[in-house]
């Protein structure tokens, strides 16, 4: 039996609502304005929030709904957050650090 017809499409979230997004707001609050991203290496993925649910693993999907730009912003803010947490003086990578384009 074929599925019943899908419901009407949803409207896009208003752009202004992005400013209120809980996840991005938390990231912005944690990163001082102007914090540069790390000069080498990449954030491959970020899983935001805790998972208090004790039965299955949850993923925040609201950021996904805003825009690709918002998703990129989450990754960039995460990289800047790491820069803030970096141990040791800035711009002084360890002597054994691989080159920036290392795999």
């Amino acid at each position: 039996m074929a599925p019943t017809p899908d419901p009407p499409a949803s409207p896009a979230p208003p752009a202004a609502a992005l400013e209120q997004d809980h996840v991005l707001a938390a990231l912005r609050a944690a990163v001082p304005d102007g914090t540069p991203p790390p000069p080498q290496g990449r954030v491959l993925a970020v899983k935001l929030g805790y998972n208090p649910n004790s039965s299955s693993v949850g993923s925040v999907v609201s950021v996904l709904f805003w825009s690709a730009t918002a998703a990129a912003a989450a990754l960039n803010l995460t990289a800047a957050l790491l820069a803030k947490h970096r141990a040791g003086p800035p711009d002084a990578p360890p002597a054994d650090a691989p080159p920036p384009d290392a795999p």
């Binding site: 499409a9 491959l44 935001l48 925040v60 999907v61 054994d96 691989p98």
Partner: protein
């Protein structure tokens, strides 16, 4: 606080403020000032340990919900404090980041807060699920030890009764308000079933009004008492297809609320064709049993996930068996190594991992089969071409 755990790809960096698990490559790991990952030259092919373990602190509960996935009863199994502390220590030694404490009704265990304190002392972040029964203002204050507390709330009034078998919505909302007042990050776990489907928007509004920061949607699972009458409770195919457009509308209506879905709902999310790479980058994933996730039940037995009733052995051996136990290996590599069509050719295979194996066991009698409620799998079984759900203005559609 920052914790770093080496992995094949570089490392996982765990932060508490804001809470995040960040996968970084080898170059960024080096720039952060940490030693190279020992797995760079000898890849494991999986995570070195779970990022999160679900620890059932008791299987006692007075509520007797008809769909309880653990089959909890008033006199259910309950591990000793010593056993729980030993498990916490072992998981800390293994490098686990997060501990999700649940039951049964977790608040019934007299040592719950001492177990949480031990987790904190060992660098693990304890989180909690509760029905809210017995959550006094004093206990709400004590809940500050947790990273976050979620209260089970499957709708309001009649919907809650239909789902849980008793009137508990007001109790759950009162618990949420008490947690919020105590400054505890808190939210709600909402089990999506045919009985609760209609009440999602109204419940979300109540959660926001009560101070909840998050609503996490869970797929109804055929485990424990939930196996009885499962097909009468599980979401229909039409409901599965309608989920993503509905979530987008929900996010638009409540932009300050975090909306989460559980691993088993990822096939339904993917029904609307989001960009696979974006899902990976934002940590949206399907079945991570035996990779990012493991579970320890109230008898101290380890399982790949909380819904699996076939243990791999005593929790004390989880660390030693993590890389080599054949059951764990099969669970974590099923999608990569043996998933048949349509999963084998699906663009979301690496994210979704073949869907929920607990549902496959219930419907098809085989843990290792494509999720039989995935819209793509249903179309495949009917011999039809898959027609993606239109999410409307899906902002990240390729």
């Amino acid at each position: 606080m920052m914790r770093v755990r080496p992995e094949d790809f570089g490392a996982i960096v765990a932060l508490d403020d804001p809470p995040a698990l960040i996968h970084v490559d080898h170059a960024l790991l080096a720039w952060l000032g940490h030693a190279p990952s020992p797995y760079a030259d000898a890849p494991l092919g999986h995570l070195s340990a779970p990022t999160e373990v679900h620890l059932m602190v008791t299987n006692r509960c007075p509520a007797a919900c008809p769909g309880c996935y653990t089959g909890a009863t008033p006199d259910g199994d309950e591990p000793s404090e010593a056993a729980l502390l030993d498990t916490v220590d072992r998981l800390a030694d293994q490098g686990v980041f997060h501990l999700a404490l649940g039951g049964g009704e977790s608040l019934l265990h007299p040592a719950l807060f001492r177990v949480a304190a031990r987790a904190r002392a060992r660098g693990l972040v304890p989180n909690l699920t509760t029905s809210g029964l017995g959550l006094t203002p004093a206990l709400a204050e004590a809940c500050r030890v947790f990273g976050q507390v979620n209260v089970s709330l499957d709708g309001l009034d009649a919907a809650y009764r239909a789902s849980r078998g008793y009137d508990g919505a007001d109790t759950a909302l009162r618990a949420l308000r008490r947690l919020h007042a105590a400054g505890v990050p808190c939210g709600v776990n909402y089990v999506l079933s045919q009985a609760t489907w209609a009440g999602l928007e109204a419940t979300t509004a109540e959660v926001a009004a009560a101070g909840g920061q998050q609503i996490e949607l869970l797929r109804y699972k055929p485990a424990g008492r939930g196996r009885d009458g499962y097909t009468d409770r599980a979401l229909t195919e039409a409901q599965a297809r309608a989920l993503t457009p509905r979530l987008i509308a929900l996010a638009a209506a409540h932009p300050s609320l975090e909306i989460k879905i559980d691993c088993s709902l990822v096939p339904f999310l993917c029904a609307a064709d989001p960009t696979p790479a974006l899902l990976s980058q934002l940590g949206v994933y399907g079945c991570e049993a035996a990779n990012a996730l493991a579970s320890v039940d109230a008898r101290g037995q380890a399982t790949p996930c909380s819904f699996v009733d076939v243990p791999i052995g005593d929790a004390a051996t989880l660390g030693a068996q993590w890389a080599t136990h054949p059951t764990l290996q099969r669970w974590r590599h099923y999608a990569r190594d043996e998933a048949p069509a349509p999963c084998s050719g699906c663009a979301y295979r690496a994210v979704c991992k073949g869907g929920c194996k607990v549902v496959s066991r219930q419907i098809d009698g085989d843990w290792f089969a494509p999720d039989p409620e995935c819209p793509r799998v249903l179309a495949h079984r009917r011999g039809e071409a898959y027609v993606p759900v239109s999410p409307g203005a899906w902002p990240v559609s390729p």
